[in-house]
C-alpha cells in the first residue's frame, strides 16, 4: 500500500487529520466570504444566533428551530465575539473530532490489542474521513456528540465507571438517543466476566433473590447514580434558567414530532398520509404511533441483551444502527451516529473479511440512498409528485438494505468471544 508509511506513527495521521480540518475551515471561510452559497451549515447559524441571544441575556429558544440543550449555545459562546471568533464553534467541533479519533485509537490499541499502524488505519475511518471532517467544519454539532459518545465507550472499557456515568448523563441530555447505550453498558458491566476473564457463573442455580443481588453490582449502581445525577442536574439547572421552552424544544419536540417532510425513514409516507386531516382511514389503528415499539425493543432491549456481553463497541454500533434505521425521522446526519463505531467493528467484520459481502453491502447502501435522493430531487426541485410509488419504494428499499447490514453486524457481534481484548488475530488485508 502506497499510504502505509502514513500509518507508522500517530503523529503523521493526526497531523493529516488536523491539516484536513484546517484546509476545510479555511476553504469554508473563503467560500462564505465570496459566494452566496454558504459552506457553513444552516444549523451553525441557528447555534450562533442562539448564543447571541444568550449573550444578550435572552433564551436561546428565542431562535426558531433551536432544538438543543442551552449547553450547546453556552459551549460556543465565544462565537458572539467579533471577528474570527465566529468560527470558534467549528474549531471546537473539529477539535472534538480529533479527540474522538484519539480515543478510538487508544481503544483499538488497548482493548482490541492492535498494532499502532493497524489501529491508526482503522481510526482513520473517522479521522481522515472527509465526510466527518466536512460535517464538523461546516459547524454541525453531531461531531460534538461523537466525542462524548466515544469518550463514554472509552471510559466504560477503561472501567472508569464514574466518568462513564457522567458522560452517559451528558450524552442523553444532549441528544436523548444515547439512552439506548445505558442498557448495553449495564449489561456489559457484569462483574464476573471481562476484567477477571472467569467463565460466567451458572445463573440458573441461584435463587431469584441472589440473581437480583448479583445483577445489582457496585459498578452498575455507580453508573446508574452518576448518569442519573448528571442528567437530572443538567435538566434542573437548564429548566430553572430557561423554563418550559427548554423542555419543549430539547425534549418534547423530539418525542412528539411527526415529521412529514420527506426523509429516509420507512414511516415517512405513512406519517404524511396519516397526520394530514381528512385522509386518515377510519379502519387504520394509527399504527405509526406504535413505530417506537420495534425501534426501542431492538435498540434498547434485545440487541443489548443478546450482544453486550460479547462485544460492547459492536453492540453499540448495532443499537445505533437499529435506532436510526427504525426511526420515524431519518436524515443523513444520523448516519454519523453509527459511523463513530465503525473503527471498532470493521476490523474483524464479515464486511471486510468477505469482500463480496462487504462490496455488495456498500454498493446496495449507496444505491439505496442514490435511488432515494433521485426521487427526492424530483420532488424537491422539479416539483414532481414522486411520493408514491417512487419515494416510498426507495425508502423501503433503503430500509431493507439497512436491515440486511444490521443483520450482518449482529451476526458478527455474536461470533465474537466474550472478551473484547481477546479477539482472535485477523490476517492483515
Amino acid at each position: 500500500m502506497g499510504f502505509s508509511f502514513m500509518f507508522r506513527s500517530p503523529a503523521t495521521v493526526f497531523s493529516a487529520a488536523v491539516i484536513l480540518r484546517i484546509v476545510f475551515l479555511v476553504y469554508g471561510h473563503f467560500q462564505d466570504a465570496f459566494s452566496p452559497m454558504k459552506y457553513t451549515d444552516i444549523d451553525y447559524f441557528v447555534f450562533t444566533d442562539a448564543a447571541r441571544f444568550i449573550s444578550h441575556g435572552q433564551s436561546p429558544y428565542t431562535r426558531d428551530t433551536y432544538r438543543y440543550t442551552p449547553l450547546l449555545a453556552w459551549f460556543i459562546y465565544p462565537t458572539t465575539w467579533p471577528g474570527f471568533w465566529f468560527s470558534f464553534g467549528k474549531v471546537l467541533f473539529a477539535v472534538g473530532d480529533i479527540v474522538a479519533g484519539w480515543m478510538m485509537f487508544r481503544i483499538l490499541r488497548s482493548h482490541h490489542k492492535m498494532s499502532t499502524s493497524r489501529a491508526l488505519k482503522f481510526a482513520s475511518i473517522w479521522l481522515l474521513n472527509p465526510m466527518v471532517a466536512t460535517i464538523s467544519t461546516r459547524g454541525s454539532s453531531e461531531g460534538l456528540l461523537g466525542v462524548i459518545v466515544t469518550a463514554l465507550l472509552w471510559s466504560v472499557l477503561a472501567k472508569r465507571i464514574r466518568l462513564a456515568g457522567c458522560l452517559l448523563g451528558l450524552a442523553v441530555h444532549f441528544k436523548i438517543y444515547p439512552f439506548i447505550y445505558a442498557a448495553s453498558i449495564v449489561w456489559w458491566l457484569d462483574g464476573d466476566n471481562k476484567s477477571q476473564g472467569r467463565p460466567r457463573r451458572l445463573d440458573t442455580t441461584n435463587s431469584p433473590y441472589e440473581r437480583v443481588r448479583h445483577f445489582v453490582n457496585p459498578e452498575r449502581v455507580i453508573l446508574a447514580i452518576h448518569s442519573l445525577v448528571t442528567f437530572m442536574a443538567l435538566n434542573i439547572v437548564m429548566y430553572s434558567i430557561y423554563g418550559f421552552p427548554f423542555l419543549e424544544h430539547s425534549y418534547l419536540y423530539h418525542l412528539i414530532r411527526i415529521d412529514h417532510r420527506h426523509n429516509f425513514s420507512p414511516y415517512n409516507t405513512l406519517l404524511y398520509l396519516n397526520s394530514a386531516p381528512g385522509t386518515h382511514s377510519s379502519a387504520s389503528f394509527e399504527l405509526e404511533r406504535l413505530a417506537f415499539v420495534p425501534q426501542i425493543l431492538l435498540s434498547a432491549v434485545m440487541i443489548p441483551l443478546a450482544l453486550a456481553k460479547q462485544d460492547l463497541p459492536s453492540t453499540m454500533l448495532a443499537q445505533t444502527f437499529a435506532f436510526v434505521t427504525f426511526n420515524k425521522v431519518c436524515t443523513s446526519q444520523y448516519f454519523l451516529w453509527y459511523m463513530m463505531f465503525l473503527p471498532f467493528y470493521l476490523p474483524d467484520s464479515t464486511l471486510l473479511r468477505s469482500r463480496i459481502t462487504g462490496a455488495t453491502a456498500l454498493v446496495l447502501w449507496i444505491l439505496g440512498q442514490a435511488a432515494w435522493l433521485q426521487q427526492g430531487y424530483q420532488l424537491e426541485f422539479l416539483g414532481n409528485s414522486t411520493f408514491v410509488p417512487g419515494l416510498w419504494t426507495a425508502s423501503m428499499l433503503f430500509f431493507v438494505v439497512n436491515v440486511g447490514i444490521l443483520g450482518i453486524i449482529i451476526q458478527d457481534a455474536q461470533r465474537k468471544k466474550s472478551i473484547p481484548g481477546r479477539t482472535p488475530p485477523v490476517k492483515k488485508t
Binding site: 465570496f34 397526520s275 394530514a276 386531516p277 409528485s385 411520493f387
Partner: protein, 514 residues
Amino acid sequence: MKQRITYIVRDPDAFTPEQLVVKDDFFAVEQVSAAKEHRITLGLSELPEELRKAFAQWHELHIRWASGSPYQAAAPFTSRVSPGLHVFYTPQKTAGDGRLCPLLREIFDSSLGCESPKESFIKMPILSERFSMSASSQFYAPVHTLSDLVHYIQSKLCPPSSAFCTDAAATLHSASYLDMDFDAISHALIINAFWAKAPNASAHWTENISLRGPSDTIEIGVLNNEQNPDPEDIAFAGFLTVLGQDSQPKPTRFQTPTRHYPLPSSKRLSYRTSFAHPTGLHPTLVLTLPERNISPPDSTCKLHIHLTLPRTLFIDKYQFNDALFLSSHHLKSLRSLSGATDLEAPDWVIPQWGSAALFELAVPGSASPDSRIDPGWNVTIPMHLRYLPPFPDSGHRNLEVPWPVVFWACRAEEGTKMSNNPFDRIHLGYEALFGPKTRFMHATPAPIGNGTGRLVEVIQVPVLDVGKVKWVEAGTVGVVLAAFFGLCWILGRKSYAMGVASVEEEVRERKKAQ
C-alpha cells in the same frame, strides 16, 4: 347617507364642461373618459341591525379589496394593494370579536378561511407604537370577485324593490378596488369604490346621479390632474357640484400634500412577477423591472416590494441575513416579516392565513441608457412551500399567489398634512411600516399580468396522491414487521444456541472439577 363621486378625467383636452348637466337634484355626465371614485358614508343607524350590532363590538375595521385584473391608476388614486381581500382589524379591549368571521364569509366568500380573528388573523408589525396608525391584526384571502358582496347588498341592504340600489350594487362587479372603513370614534361606515375606467366598450362614463332621500347629500367632482406647483403636492382643477345646492358645476382649483404620489412620466416603472420554473418545493419569485427606468425619483427614495403570501408559501427570514446572498438576489434587506413564519409546520397545522413581507430592493448601479435592449432587472426572492394534505386522484394542487406591490418610499417634508388630503388612503398593510413622513410612488403591474391578464401566479404544489396509497400502510407495516421479526430471529437463534452451549460447557467443567 353622504356620497362623494369623483371623476378624474383621463384626457383633459377631450373634455368640455358641456359634458356635465346639472338640474336641481339631478346630475349627468355624458361620454366622459375618466377614472371614478364613489365614496358612501353611512351612519351606523342606517345599517341593518345585524351589521349595527356587529360593528358596535369592534374598535376599527378596514377592508381593502383589489381586483385581479390589471388597471391603470390615476392620481390621486395611485396606491395599490395585492389583488384579493385584505382585512385590517382592531378589536375593542373589552368586547369579543362577535361575528366578524361569519360576516366576512357571508359578505365576501363562503369558503373564506376565516375561523376567528384570534386564530386566522396575524399580528401587524408595528414600527413605532407612538406614531402607529395601523390596525392591530390582518387577514387576507384570495377573493377574486365581489359577486357575493353585490348579492349581499342587494338582498340585505337595498330596500325591497329598489331598482336603483340593485343597479348601484351591481356596478361593483367592475370595480378596480373597494375599501370599507369603520372605526368606533367616527361611528360611520365608509365604502369607497374605485373604477379605473367605465365598464363599457367605449370606456366612457354616461351616468345620471340624483338625490334619493331628504337627508342625503351628494357631492360630485369632475377633476383634472394639473401640473404640480409644489414638489410635494398634487393639484387639481375642475368642477364641483353639491346636488340640491348648486345649479351649475362650480369651477374649482386646489392642491394638497399626498401620501401616494404619482411617478413622473419619465420614471414610470412597470413590473412583472413570475416564478422560476420548475418551482419544486422551494419556489423563487422573480420580479422583473425595466432596468433603465429604475432610477429613484428623488435621492431619498428606496425601492420596496410588499408581498402577501398565503400560508402554503413562506419566507425563511434567516436566509436574508447575509449581504452576499441578498445582493445576489438584488435585495437590500428584509425590512419586515409577520404572520405564519414557522419553518417546519405543514399547511394543515397553521391556523393563520399566511404572512406579509416587506423587502427593500437593490437598484442597478449605473444604468446604461444607450443600450437598445433593456435586459430587465430581475429581483429574486427564494421561498418555501409547506406540505399540503394528500389529495384524491391528483399529485398536484394549485396554489394562487397574488402579485406583490412595488413602490418607491421617499422622505416627505410634510408628513402630518397628508391626512388632510380628501383622497388620502391608509391601512394598506405596508405604509405603517414606514415613518409618518413618507410618501409612496407606485410601480404599475404589467397590463399583461401572468399572461392571461390576471395579477395572480399559480404554483403547482406536489402532494401525495391518495388514489395511489392503497398499499402504503400495509406495505410499510408489513416490511417493518418482517424486518423486525427477521432481526429477532437472528438475535434469538444464536443467543439460544450460545446459551445452551455455555450451559453445557459449564456443566462439563463442573463435572471435571468434581
